[in-house]
Symmetry: C2
Subunit: 336 residues, 2 copies
DNA sequence: TAGTATAATGTAAGCGCTTTCATTTATAGC
DNA sequence: GCTATAAATGAAAGCGCTTACATTATACTA
């Protein structure tokens, strides 16, 4: 592999000049620039990124921590981030945190030890305090799907409350008045916010919320099934169900089917997230779109702007979810 | 951040000694070792991985190229790889190739320019020749889901032929004799192999393959729908359908439903890959399990063994798929 | 045409490690 | 106690770049 030294020799200039044309920052005359470029081409020169990093104290890498690498959700996020980063010549180092505090911290330290220029984190278990301290350190942090007031600038979030509101409103508009709700784990802020949106819509339509028609799941499909079973066991009538995410909706739908309930004819269901699976299950799930890919992309842009000085970029911190109408929710009047 | 120099000062030894205890390779007396360790702890010292890389000419990073970051398939693969690598303190740099030759090559070069110690590739578009040349270079390559005879040692594959065979055999055992087949794009070797397995099973059972009941899709669900439509349009009877992957099976199932066909009562369907979606669609899809996660893990082990000299590891190059029975395929006798 | 500002290029000192080779210290044999 | 050998440590030269500072070439001004 050719080094900068050989390029400089071939081009008949100094190392510094070669370096300058590489980083095309300093002023180099057109003549020497092309000489250098030619020498590079001739040697098939590729800068050694490690040496660049050591000398410039910048690794050109951004560390990403997600809860899981598999699953439909994080993949989209990663895709958005990778796309944006690679276009800028930065690379992406990934780690998984598995929604456990120890593992998340371990992942973050791992990333730090790899001298990333910035961190994009999707963490759930780690405390606000930890993140605030982390952000106060010398490595910039951007948080996806987590809002911490002190770090507002660094948070890229979805307006979950609005999502919960939209999901519920759709059902209310379709004439439903007896709604059940399957929540996510209420210690997670997104679960809480979605629920708050649900309540707001209910209030707006003057429908009183019935605590007996509420169940708390854990965002997994199995808990969706379990919650649905609970709800059904109470023998209370309800014509619609809003689930705090698609996976639970899928689980709930299955239980409904086992009980001979026609969806949506006898029970309308709406989910949240708009995972790919929402298109595959039958009937196709009406849900709230979560633009994870876009948000990942935005997180990457944040980094480009703040760390790699691409001033021009416009940033957006909070995304508005939108309702995706499919087949699992319908007018109450069509109830058999 | 403390440097090795400060550690050496505090411990009262030379840089070289500190370096030695870090890499605990050279012989250092217990006494000085503990002195150094204490100094490190006191300073909260963390080696600068960039400097280590530059000096040792080893980046401790492995580059991964997958077709897509999103989607259910690659996520599992990444999870397997990341897991294994992190346990060994290596980091993972990712890039997406989008199944296009130019993009794949670009991704590979990107990874190389990042001085990865090894590459784990899941590439589809790039030619065998390119890969052979690449592997002949100075950066080791391991291929997932691609078999190139000259690179046999470096390939981690699934026995796709066996999978195709098993899927088909299941249906034949259930008494079906009129089978339709929706293939993947036949220029992809896995699509070809799965199809070959199908033919073998058919031959074994003395069933003649009817070319009219064959359609070629592109592994996407929409093509599954389109192919199913084509098949149905021919008005030829068939009681079972094998699809070269789950997504196409899902698409096909939907079209079947639209045509009023009961699955599995009137049409048995089997897929391939065992994606998460196979559990979510209704009826749950009988399919062939593709152990991507395990294979990713194995690819990482390959790297550990060959590049990072962890001799002890046992390697496995070809994985055997297994049938996962769910609800979408049943005995022919139960046909209404 | 000298005098000055400015642009272009070069020099050399690191960045924080690893590693070779030389030196010192410990261990053993007699 | 003294040499022969092995074990432990140190000195210093890089790894391939960036960058502050010094120097030289060029363009203007008066």
């Amino acid at each position: 592999m050719a080094t900068i030294y050989q390029v400089s020799e071939l081009a008949g200039v100094s190392l510094a000049t070669v370096s300058r044309v590489m980083n095309n920052n300093a002023r180099v005359s057109e003549k020497t620039r092309s000489k250098v470029l030619a020498a590079m081409a001739q040697l098939g020169y590729r800068p050694n990124t490690i040496a660049q990093s050591l000398a410039s104290n910048r690794s050109n890498s951004v560390g990403i921590l997600v809860s899981e690498l598999h699953g439909p959700f994080y993949g989209d996020m990663l895709a958005g981030i990778e796309n944006e980063c690679r276009a800028a010549g930065k690379h992406v180092i990934i780690a998984a945190g598995h929604s456990e505090e120890a593992s998340e911290i371990d992942g973050i330290e791992f990333l730090i030890s790899r001298s990333c220029d910035a961190l994009i984190l999707h963490v759930e278990a780690v405390s606000d305090d930890y993140l605030i301290k982390l952000a106060a350190g010398n490595i910039p942090v951007v948080l996806i799907n987590r809002y911490i007031p002190q770090l507002a600038e660094n948070c890229i979030c979805l307006n979950n409350e609005l999502g919960g509101y939209l999901a519920t409103k759709q059902l209310l508009q379709q004439g439903h008045r007896q709604l059940a709700y399957i929540a996510g784990p209420m210690w997670k802020s997104d679960a809480k916010d979605r629920y708050a949106g649900h309540l707001r819509a209910m209030a707006e339509y003057g429908v009183t919320f019935n605590p007996a028609l509420f169940a708390e799941g854990d965002f997994q499909d199995s808990s969706g099934s379990a919650c649905m079973q609970q709800l059904l066991d109470k023998k209370l009538p309800f014509t619609a169900l809003v689930c705090a995410n698609d996976e639970m909706a899928a689980g709930a739908m299955e239980v409904a089917r086992e009980h001979g309930l026609q969806v949506p004819e006898q029970l309308s269901i709406v989910g949240f997230d708009n995972l790919i699976l929402a298109r595959y299950i039958h009937p196709k799930l009406t849900t709230i779109d979560y633009p994870v890919g876009e948000m990942g992309r935005m997180a990457a842009r944040w980094v480009m702007k703040h760390i790699y000085q691409q001033q021009a970029l416009a940033l957006k911190n909070v995304f508005e979810p939108v309702l995706v109408c499919r087949e699992s929710a319908c007018e109450l009047s069509s109830l058999t």
